[in-house]
Amino acid sequence: MKRRKFIQTLAVTPAAALPIVSESNAETPVVAQRPQEEAPKLETASLDAAGETMPRFFSAAQLAALKKLSNIILPPLNSMPGALDAGAPEFLDFLIGKSTAERRQIYTAGLNTLNAQATKRFGKAFADVTDAQAAELLAPLKQPWTYEPPADPFARFLREAKQDIRNATINSREYVTAGSSGGRRGGGVGQYWYPID
């Protein structure tokens, strides 16, 4: 059988094989005879259109540091939303909370170090430092990239956070829709594989 014909056959068979509802339910013959294609199509919205992620994992101090870090790594630029607009810190609170113990530890220890360093050097929490002060604390991010993660846990945290904050932002509804409505690259759409039975 030619491939096109084979696909057509597959597409037709399941509908034809469905029992006709009117045979088993005499009271609703009109509904039952409606061809399958006419099933109502309801519009739905994504979860993020309905509400905001409620942070559950990081402490208030850690989350405040993560928000500050997120805004430094990817602020709003060229009229595209930044990490805070995209809810990246709240999303990462969820993602890291679901991740392995090792990854959770990298983040919690890293955020604690950010706050501790900020307090030690500038007498305030990381959330309150100036951009210039933040740049001093983020110095490990100035090192060239290597395949092996840095041995220093703080440097490793910064490297992972940079990547995660960018991805959580670029893959957000806010960023993708801003990109396509601004006539920029469509982006963000992929071929999804449904679970195989």
Binding site: S46, K162, V189, Q191, Y192, W193, Y194
Partner: protein, 526 residues
């Protein structure tokens, strides 16, 4: 109901099992093909989605596919579930085993790079004294490559290189682009050449057993395909020791069944075929079943080059025109190509026009964005692919403590790269960096650390062929030395890997072995 006895029972429907079905059914043999995965209807199984609608924003469910670096949240369901079919290894020596279970196997998703091996591989021991030769030469396999090429429609350009024999190409007449030409010129004094990539075009959408082999096999009326059939072990006749069928499990219900056949062909992929043999406790009088596990090491963007004139979107016309390939140029016959601290060689894919990843810039915020804008499309990406020496010490065995979802013992991996691979990787990165610079390009990042073994998805060996039954599992026809009516036709039969992607060779070997099988069956010799 009486069990029907087939002429040949084939396990697996990927490139190897598919080619066995294609070749054997044409010779009139009645074949039963058992495939562990489902027959997928691509129209229904896939759909376009925005990334933000995925539950994990594209990051994927944490911990779901820890070994499959290629997985993302879009394609996570296409790979074998690591919880359902686990495997074990020392945490300090990871192995990335990347698997697909569907009718068509990995050939549904492969990148289609299609290269022939040469006598630098088949007769590797004659060349440098290490390991063993294959029991066949290039000349013996060439006629089968010649017949596989038109089925898969391999595109490329004739180059006449002894280390990379030409295929029967659909000629690629596209220009190379000035970037590749400059790399070729700069590398010439080192014996380096830049060729076209060689790729199976198939029918465009697929170049798979699913569209190129199985439909033709079924058209003969000689093939029965049974999906969702997970083979547990090969059964043997107690009196003769010959294979008489397989026991298998319904993937969905767990029901146990048995199928009978006069000959059994394994094409379940390199390591799954070996796992079936280990679970069957046959074909291992040599003691080398599971051993000599090798692959090609991969370094993604080991060198990230930059074309200065292409920065800020200003690439001149004709600079970039598609991908290129540097075939092996180390340790060839010419003494000038001899490397000082490693055997064999490496190849490299080249991607001019690449955009370097944000991680490569030591910056953030507006400064990072500026860099990304400047370098967009100005990079030259690379994938370095190095030959891994086949060593007895690298092996798989059954893990007696862990079973898969169907109660079948799983594999334990013991596999490490050695100094030969590490030295080769360093040479590759140093040499390609220097050639880029000589060609007038910049090097943004250089990294000689390879991914863990298995990453290339070119796992090979563990059931290798050879003339001597004392140190090989199969003879030169992919036939078990011990069990004459048992054939293994996938990458497990390889003796060495070369630097070339292996599937074209798997296909040619499976065609050759199947035609031998049919001839022997016709003579009643099996």
């Amino acid at each position: 109901m009486a069990e029907k006895e087939y002429d040949v029972l084939i396990v697996g429907s990927g490139a190897s099992g598919g080619m066995a079905a294609y070749s054997l059914t044409q010779k009139g043999l009645k074949c039963l093909l058992l495939e562990a995965g489902a027959l997928v209807d691509f129209q229904r199984q896939r759909g376009l989605k925005p990334v933000y609608e995925l539950p994990y924003r594209g990051f994927g469910k944490p911990g779901r596919l820890p070994h499959v670096v290629q997985a993302n949240e879009f394609n996570a369901n296409q790979w074998v579930d690591e919880q359902q079919v686990p495997y074990t290894h020392d945490p300090k020596s990871p192995y990335n085993w990347v698997r697909v279970r569907m009718v068509g196997g990995k050939s549904l998703f492969w990148a289609r790079m299609s290269y022939r091996l040469s006598d630098y591989e088949f007769k590797a021991k004659d060349h440098d004294g290490f390991g063993d030769n294959w029991p066949i030469s290039y000349a013996e396999l060439a006629p089968f490559y010649d017949r596989v090429d038109p089925i898969f429609r391999v595109s490329g350009r004739k180059e006449g290189l002894p280390q990379l024999p030409d295929s029967q190409f659909i000629e690629d007449k596209s220009p190379d682009g000035a970037a590749l030409e400059r790399i070729g010129t700069a590398g010439k004094s080192r014996g380096m050449t830049v060729t076209k990539i060689r790729r199976s075009l198939g029918d465009g959408q697929f170049a798979s057993s699913f569209n190129l082999l199985l439909p033709a096999a079924q058209a003969t009326g000689n093939l029965t395909i049974v999906p969702n059939a997970v083979v547990r072990e090969i059964t043997t006749d107690k009196a003769t020791g010959k294979a008489n069928g397989v026991s298998f499990v319904d993937r969905q219900s767990g029901r146990e069944l048995h199928a009978k056949a006069k000959v059994v062909v394994l094409g379940a992929s390199c390591l799954e075929s070996t796992r079936i043999l280990l679970n069957s406790k046959i074909a291992n009088s040599s003691g080398v079943l599971g051993h000599y596990l090798h692959d090609q090491f991969y370094i993604s963007n080991g060198v990230m080059g930059v074309m200065p004139e292409a920065k800020d979107g200003k690439a001149p016309r004709g600079l970039v025109a598609g991908a290129g390939y540097i075939p092996r140029f180390r340790n060839l016959k010419d003494p000038k190509t001899k490397a000082k601290n490693f055997l064999r060689g490496y190849a490299c894919d080249l991607y001019p026009g690449a955009t370097p990843d944000a991680k490569l810039f030591p910056a953030w915020g507006a400064e990072l964005q500026k860099q990304l804008d400047t370098f967009r499309g100005a990079g030259i990406g690379t994938t370095i692919m190095g030959e891994v020496l086949p060593r007895f010490e690298n092996f798989v065995k059954l893990d007696p403590t862990v079973k898969d979802a169907w109660g079948i013992s799983v594999l334990n991996f013991q596999c490490r790269y050695t100094d030969n691979e590490f030295n080769m990787a360093k040479d590759a990165v140093d040499t390609i960096s220097q050639v880029f610079k000589d060609a007038g390009f910049e090097v943004l990042n250089a990294n000689d650390k390879m991914h863990p073994p298995g990453y290339s998805i070119h796992e090979l060996g563990t059931c290798r062929m050879g003339d001597n039954p004392k140190n090989s599992v199969l003879n030169k026809w992919n036939q078990s030395h011990d069990v004459k009516n048992l054939f293994v036709m996938d990458g497990s039969s390889f003796v060495t890997s070369g630097t070339q992607n292996p599937t074209l060779t798997i296909l040619a070997l499976a065609m050759r072995a199947s035609e031998y099988l049919a001839e022997q069956a016709g003579k009643g010799a099996l």
